[in-house]
């Protein structure tokens, strides 16, 4: 485990009196895809959001690459440039075109030239199958298309890790597949990914490991075959019975 790319040590997070994460420790290797699964309110989103410091951990330590991001002297903005995030509700910028959505951060944050940023953006749009939508505004896109643009937008910063918080939960069923396809091929490129999802089939197939959270505790941290066929804990068994 010495070459872990992300290392999380005894992570706690509370909102006021509510303890949401109660001491989570795990590691993620470079190129690994992990699925985070658990009942509603178990702290999956909070866990994910701690990794790019959208939530500030109450205690515990997190390393991404060589940086301890929980260290006060670490530049949060630098960390975030390196950790892409995709949200359930896309959060595309509605007043910017698809192209501008993707080029904005690379130009503004990294100081890349417009021409270069657009070249990157077109390549990524090609990759997510939306090259012809570059000039459109987000409200002209379907949910699945929006989410693919959101993925391209995050990738445009060339992050080392991608976080996905229920990327398909807000989509109509017929659009889930196109987004999962994009994520699957992204996984095949060797991207390190952490995915909160209710898509058990996808988790089983694509993930290298499943983290099962319940009540803010990491109950299982095992390969998917093991998790789905032979869950050790009672809580995981109960959960799987409900969702499968």
């Amino acid at each position: 485990m010495s070459n872990a790319f992300i290392k999380i040590e005894d992570l706690h997070k509370s909102f006021g009196k509510l303890d949401v994460l109660k001491g989570i420790s795990t590691t993620i290797q470079k190129g690994e895809v992990i699925s985070i699964i658990g009942p509603s309110g178990s702290g999956k989103s909070t866990f994910l959001r701690c990794i790019n410091l959208l939530e500030k951990p109450t205690s515990g330590r997190i390393w991404v690459g060589d940086d301890e991001i929980t260290d006060k002297s670490t530049d949060i903005m630098k960390v975030r440039q390196n950790v892409g995030m995709v949200f359930q509700h896309f959060h595309l910028f509605p007043h910017k075109t698809v192209l501008e959505n993707i080029t904005y951060a690379p130009m503004k944050v990294k100081g890349i030239s417009k021409a270069e940023a657009e070249k990157i953006a077109y390549d990524l749009l090609e990759q997510v199958g939306l090259a012809e939508k570059a000039g459109q505004y987000p409200n002209r896109l379907s949910g699945g298309q929006k989410q693919r643009v959101a993925i391209a937008r995050a990738l445009a910063m060339s992050p080392d890790v991608m976080l996905f918080d229920e990327p398909t939960s807000a989509l109509d069923p017929e659009m889930v597949k196109e987004v999962l396809e994009v994520m699957r091929s992204l996984a095949e490129t060797g991207m390190t990914m952490a995915i909160v999802t209710h898509e058990m089939g996808f988790a089983k197939e694509v993930a290298d490991r499943v983290l099962f959270l319940d009540g803010g505790v990491l109950v299982e941290d095992v390969p998917p075959e093991e998790f789905f066929s032979n869950p050790k804990s009672q809580r995981a068994q109960d959960f799987l019975e409900k969702v499968l």
Partner: protein, 219 residues
């Protein structure tokens, strides 16, 4: 009642010229108000408590006292306190600009808070710093939402601007009063001024509606 408009006809161009005076006045005051309002609104949503406190106190004072009183203070207190003989125009735009800054700050604050929090999170997750995030992502969306309220504020300013006549500034209202005094007519000049204000307000409202539809379509 008999009204005699013929007597004031030669003076009507004089009143009409007040339109530009009033519009220029309102425009300058609105720009000042908008700049102050934007800054105050950013103070109000910041986590720095004394900035918040300052912006809230500012708003409370300017909204809690009559505008005409603020105007009088700027006009009469400035020479007394500083020895500077402040022109009516300057006192007027200061009072109106600072006053409308308080109202506009509330409009913009509400507009910023109405922007989906996900927008801020998405920008933060991309590593975009606070300033460009506000300038490029949050404020443009907020301004679009509050455009009707801002235009409404502009219309209100146009009407309220008549108060500057009290310190002798030669706007539409003051000109009507001057004509009234010179021609010994009480109502006629006021009716003319009233008509001008009404047409101005209607025109601005129309223009605002047009602008709003244009913006809506662009998305």
């Amino acid at each position: 009642m008999d009204l005699d408009f013929l007597r004031i006809v030669p003076s009507i161009p004089f009143i009409l010229n007040g339109i530009w005076v009033t519009l220029l006045f309102v425009l300058v005051a609105a720009i000042i108000g908008f700049i102050i309002g934007t800054i105050l609104s950013l103070f109000k949503i910041s986590n720095i408590s004394w900035l918040k406190w300052f912006a809230d106190a500012y708003t409370s004072i300017f909204r809690g006292t009559p505008l005409i009183l603020q105007l009088m203070i700027f006009y009469f207190a400035t020479p007394q306190l500083t020895g500077y003989d402040i022109p009516a125009f300057l006192a007027g735009i200061l009072a109106f600009g600072l006053n409308s800054g308080a109202y506009i700050s509330e409009i913009i604050r509400a507009g910023i808070q109405a922007v989906d929090d996900g927008q801020r999170e998405a920008a933060e997750a991309l590593g975009v710093p606070y300033k460009p995030m506000m300038k490029d992502i949050i404020l443009p969306q907020a301004l679009k939402n509050i455009l009707p309220a801002l235009l409404n504020e502009f219309v209100t300013l146009t009407k309220e601007s008549a108060i500057v006549s009290t310190i002798g500034f030669l706007d539409i209202m003051r000109r009507a009063q001057v004509v009234s005094a010179n021609t010994y007519t009480a109502f006629e000049p006021l009716l003319v001024a009233g008509l001008i204000y009404y047409l101005l307000v209607m025109g601005l409202t129309q223009l605002g509606g047009l602008l709003e539809r244009r913006l809506r379509k662009s998305e």
